[in-house]
C-alpha cells in the first residue's frame, strides 16, 4: 500500500491533469464492464498495463505482484462459476457422476467464467492505472470539482492522512513493547496486542482532539478549505485517451 502511494507521487504521469486520468480510467472501466465480448476487456488489460508500465514507468515486477491480489481471489471465485452440479443429464456436461449427480464443466459455464475473469481483471487494471499514477490529494481535488459533498471529501482526506499517523503510532507502540519482550511468547503476545489496541484507541482519540484544537486555532469552520494545485490540461494525453476509448466503443459495437 505504501508502495502504491509512493509510485503515485513519483510516476511519470504525475503532472498530467488528474481530471483527465480519472475520466480516462472511469470511462475505460465502464467500457470493460458493459462490453459483451471478452475481447474488449482483454485489450483493456493489455493497454492499461502498457500505459502503467511503459508510460507511467511503474516497474513491471511490482505491477504484476499487484495483480496477484485480485488474481487469486478471482481464480477461486471464477472456478465456482465454471463448475456445474446437476442431476439432469446434459449432453455438453463433462465431469464425474456420483449417485446420479454430475459435477463438471459446460462450455457455457466456461465461457461465462472466462468473461467474468477478464472483465474483473480489466476493471482492476483501470483502477490500478488510476491509483498508481494519481496521488489521493489530486483525486480529492477532482472530487471537490465534481461537487462531491465537502464533508465526504474532508473525511477521505483526513482518513488518508491519519492512516500514516496511525501506522507510525502502531509501529512505535509495537517497538516499545517488543523491546521489553512483550512478544517473547504466545501468551505475552496476545496480552501485548490487546494492550496495543487499547492504547491505540486512546491515543487516536487524544490526537483527534488535538487536531480539532489545532484546526480551530487556524480558523476552521466546518470545511477544510485548501488551495488546489492547478494542473494544465495535457492535450496529448486527452487525445490519446479519447482515441483509445473511442476505438474500444466502436469495436464493441461492431462485434
Amino acid at each position: 500500500m505504501f508502495s502504491i502511494d509512493q509510485y503515485a507521487y513519483s510516476n511519470r504521469l504525475k503532472n498530467i491533469h488528474p481530471g483527465e486520468k480519472v475520466a480516462f480510467a472511469l470511462v475505460t472501466l465502464l467500457i470493460a464492464l458493459v462490453a459483451p465480448r471478452p475481447l474488449i476487456p482483454a485489450i483493456i488489460i493489455a493497454l492499461m498495463a502498457g500505459a502503467t508500465i511503459g508510460i507511467a514507468g511503474i516497474p513491471a515486477r511490482f505491477y504484476l505482484q499487484l495483480f496477484l491480489v485480485p488474481f487469486s481471489f478471482l481464480v477461486a471465485g471464477v472456478a465456482m462459476i465454471a463448475l456445474t452440479i446437476t442431476s439432469q443429464p446434459q449432453a455438453s456436461l463433462k465431469g464425474v457422476t456420483l449417485l446420479g449427480w454430475t459435477l463438471g464443466f459446460t462450455p457455457a459455464g466456461m465461457h461465462l467464467a472466462g468473461k467474468i475473469f477478464l472483465k474483473s481483471l480489466g476493471a482492476a487494471a483501470c483502477l490500478y492505472f488510476l491509483s498508481l499514477t494519481t496521488p489521493i490529494v489530486d483525486i480529492l481535488t477532482v472530487l471537490r470539482q465534481l461537487r462531491v459533498p465537502a464533508l465526504l471529501v474532508d473525511l477521505i482526506s483526513l482518513t488518508y492522512r491519519f492512516i500514516f499517523v496511525l501506522l507510525a503510532t502502531v509501529n512505535d507502540i509495537y517497538t516499545a513493547q517488543a523491546s521489553r519482550l512483550g512478544y517473547a511468547s504466545l501468551r505475552t503476545s496476545y496480552h501485548s496486542l490487546g494492550q496495543l489496541a487499547a492504547n491505540l484507541f486512546i491515543k487516536t482519540y487524544r490526537r483527534s482532539q488535538e487536531l480539532f484544537t489545532a484546526l480551530t486555532a487556524r480558523g476552521y469552520h466546518e470545511e477544510l478549505q485548501v488551495l488546489e494545485v492547478a494542473y494544465p490540461f495535457s492535450w496529448p494525453f486527452l487525445c490519446l485517451a479519447a482515441i483509445f476509448d473511442l476505438v474500444l466503443v466502436i469495436l464493441m459495437l461492431l462485434t
Partner: protein, 284 residues
C-alpha cells in the same frame, strides 16, 4: 511599548478537576520576544489556548490590543488571524497530505482571494525554507521538515503574535538552530513571539522578557538577567541556571574577569569578555 495581549487574573479548571490556571496575570508587549518557562503541567499550553480564544477563562479576562476578547464567531476569526499558535507536535497540526494545501488552509479560512492565498503560501514557504518540499506528501517528511510546514502554515495567516509551544523539542541541534534563526527573522519583522521552552540557555539568550509558571500560577516575571539571578525562583520552578551565567560568575570569582565586566547576553559576549593571557595578569 503598549501591551498587545494581556491576561488579567485568569483562572481555568478542566472538567476532570485539574486546576490548570490560578489568577494568572501577565502582559505581552507588541513586537517583543517573550519566553514562558515552567515545568511540565505548569499550565503553559492551557494559557496559550486562552490567548486565541479556544479556551474561555472561567474567571478573569483576556485583552487583545486593549479590548476585551469577544467570543462571537466573527471576533474569534479575527483574533485567530492575529494570534497564531504553532503546536508542539506537528503531526497533530498537519491534516493534509499536501504541503501546499496544508499551508493554504489558514489563509483561506480568512476569506482571502485564491490569488492572495497563493502568494501568502509562496511567501511562507520561502520564509521557512520549504519551497523545495511543496510537492512532497506530508507523510514522507522528516520531523524537522514537518515542524517547518507547521510554522509556515501559521506564518501564512500573517499574525501579529505567534506562540511557539516548545518549538525545539525533539529537534536535532541543526534544526534547533534553524528554528531559532527563523524565530529571529520573524521577530525582526516586528511580530511579537511567545516561546515556551525548557531550554534555559535558549530562553536566557533569546528572550526580552520571561514569565515563569508553576502550578498554574505566575511565580516570576522579569528580564532574563533578573529571572536567572533569583536562586529561590529557579529552585521553585525546577529550572537550571544557564551555563553562560555559571561560567561568567566562576570566571569573575576566580579573578579572570574584572568585577566590572558586564553580564554577557550570549556566548560571543562572554568570549569577548575573556581577556588574553598576558593582559589577564594585569587584570589580576
Amino acid at each position: 511599548m503598549a501591551a498587545l495581549l494581556e491576561a488579567e487574573r485568569v483562572s481555568f479548571t478542566y472538567p476532570d478537576g485539574t486546576q490548570a490556571l490560578q489568577h494568572v496575570t501577565l502582559s505581552i508587549p507588541e513586537g517583543k520576544k517573550i519566553a514562558v518557562l515552567g515545568p511540565n503541567g505548569a499550565g503553559k499550553s492551557t494559557l496559550f489556548l486562552h490567548f486565541n480564544g479556544i479556551l474561555r477563562p472561567q474567571e478573569g479576562c483576556i485583552y487583545f490590543a486593549g479590548a476585551r476578547i469577544n467570543y462571537s464567531h466573527k471576533a474569534l476569526t479575527d483574533l485567530r488571524q492575529q494570534v497564531g499558535i504553532v503546536f508542539q507536535d506537528p503531526d497533530s497540526m498537519l491534516f493534509s497530505a499536501s504541503v501546499r494545501q496544508e499551508i493554504s488552509f489558514g489563509p483561506l479560512n480568512l476569506g482571502l482571494s485564491r490569488e492572495e492565498v497563493g502568494q501568502r503560501v509562496e511567501a511562507a514557504m520561502a520564509a521557512t525554507g520549504i519551497t523545495g518540499l511543496q510537492d512532497k506528501p506530508t507523510h514522507f517528511l522528516s520531523y524537522g521538515q514537518k515542524k517547518r510546514v507547521a510554522i509556515a502554515s501559521v506564518l501564512a495567516m500573517e499574525p501579529r503574535l505567534i506562540i511557539f509551544d516548545e518549538p525545539t523539542a525533539y529537534l536535532d541541534p541543526r534544526s534547533t538552530r534553524d528554528v531559532m534563526a527563523l524565530l529571529e527573522d520573524i521577530s525582526r519583522q516586528g511580530k511579537a513571539i511567545i516561546l515556551s521552552t525548557h531550554d534555559v540557555d535558549i530562553a536566557y539568550t533569546w528572550a526580552d522578557y520571561i514569565y515563569v509558571l508553576a502550578g498554574g500560577q505566575v511565580i516570576g516575571a522579569g528580564t532574563p538577567a533578573e529571572i536567572f539571578s533569583d536562586a529561590t525562583l529557579l529552585e521553585a520552578a525546577g529550572l537550571a541556571r544557564p551555563w553562560l551565567l555559571d561560567v561568567y560568575e566562576d570566571l569573575k570569582n576566580k579573578g579572570w574577569l574584572p568585577a566590572t565586566a558586564p553580564v554577557p547576553k550570549n556566548k560571543d559576549d562572554l568570549l569577548g569578555l575573556i581577556p588574553y593571557r598576558s593582559r589577564s595578569k594585569l587584570a589580576i
